[in-house]
C-alpha cells in the first residue's frame, strides 16, 4: 500500500512541476521546475521496478541535459525585459485554443488506456538483465544510437563554432 501512495505523490509532483515549468516567464525558474519533474519521474521509475532507468534519468536527464540548458541560458544573458515580453504572451486568449486541442487528444488517450488492466512489476528488472539484452539482441540499436550521437556532436560543434567565430 505504501508504494502506491508514494507513486501517487510522485506523479502529482511530476505533473504540478511540469505545469509550472511550462507557464513560467523566466527560463531559469522553468528549468528548476523541469528538474523537479524529472526527479519525480525517476522516483516513479524506481517504484515500478526499473532502478537502472531511474539512475539514468537522474544522471543524464536531470544532470547532463539540464546543465546544457543552464549553460545556454547563461550565455544568452536574458534580461528583465525578456520576462515582461513572455508574460505578455501568456494570456488566456493565446493558450485557450491549443489547450482545448491538447485536452481533446488527451481525452482520446484516456479512453484508449482505460481498457488496459493489470499491475506492473511483481519484481524489479535489474541492470544486469538490461545490459545482457542491450548487447545481445539490441546491439544494432546501440550502433544506431552511437551514430546518432556522433551526428549530434558534429552538428552542435558546427553550429557553436560559427557562433563563436563571428562574435569576435
Amino acid at each position: 500500500m505504501l508504494e502506491i501512495t508514494l507513486f501517487y505523490i510522485a506523479a502529482t509532483i511530476a505533473l504540478a512541476a511540469t505545469v509550472l515549468a511550462m507557464t513560467r516567464a523566466n527560463a531559469i525558474h522553468a528549468l528548476i521546475y523541469l528538474i523537479v519533474s524529472l526527479l519525480a519521474v525517476a522516483v516513479i521509475f524506481f517504484l515500478i521496478g526499473a532502478p537502472f532507468a531511474a539512475a539514468l534519468e537522474i544522471v543524464i536527464y536531470a544532470g547532463a541535459i539540464m546543465v546544457l540548458f543552464v549553460f545556454v541560458i547563461m550565455m544568452l544573458n536574458l534580461g528583465e525585459e525578456g520576462d515582461a515580453r513572455e508574460r505578455g504572451l501568456l494570456q488566456p486568449s493565446i493558450w485557450a485554443g491549443p489547450a482545448l486541442l491538447s485536452f481533446l487528444l488527451f481525452a482520446e488517450l484516456l479512453y484508449m488506456i482505460s481498457t488496459v488492466e493489470g499491475p506492473v512489476s511483481m519484481q524489479a528488472v535489474s541492470a544486469k538483465e538490461v545490459g545482457l539484452a542491450l548487447f545481445g539482441p539490441y546491439v544494432l540499436a546501440v550502433e544506431i544510437a552511437s551514430m546518432l550521437l556522433l551526428a549530434g556532436l558534429v552538428g552542435s560543434y558546427h553550429l557553436g563554432r560559427r557562433y563563436l567565430e563571428r562574435e569576435e
Partner: protein
C-alpha cells in the same frame, strides 16, 4: 521490491498527461528555449510509457528503448541549443515568430 501493485493504466495516465502538457507548452510558447523544454517533457513522457510497459511484462526491453530515447534527447538538445545560439545572434531575440522566413 516485491509485491508492488501499481495499476499499469494509472502510470499510462500520468504519462499521457505529461505528454499533453508538453504538447500544450509546445503550442503556446514562442520562446525557442521553452519549445526545446516542451520537447524534452514529451520525450520523457514517452519514455515513461515504455518503461511502464516493460515493467508490466517484466522484460528489460522497455528500459532499452528508454536508453535510446535518452540518446535521442541528448542529440536533439545539443543541436537545438546550437540553433538557439544562432537564432539569438542573427535575430537578437528568441521569439520563433521572428525566424519564420526561410532564406539562405
Amino acid at each position: 521490491m516485491e509485491g508492488l501493485n501499481i495499476p499499469l493504466n494509472h502510470i499510462l495516465l500520468v504519462s499521457s498527461l505529461l505528454f499533453s502538457i508538453g504538447m500544450l507548452g509546445l503550442m503556446i510558447r514562442r520562446n525557442i528555449i521553452f519549445i526545446l523544454m516542451s520537447l524534452e517533457v514529451m520525450l520523457n513522457a514517452a519514455a515513461l510509457a515504455f518503461v511502464a510497459a516493460g515493467a508490466h511484462w517484466g522484460q528489460p526491453d522497455g528500459q532499452i528503448i528508454f536508453m535510446l530515447i535518452l540518446s535521442i534527447a541528448a542529440a536533439e538538445v545539443a543541436v537545438g541549443l546550437g540553433l538557439v545560439l544562432q537564432v539569438q545572434r542573427r535575430f537578437k531575440t528568441l521569439d520563433m515568430d521572428s525566424a519564420n522566413r526561410m532564406r539562405g
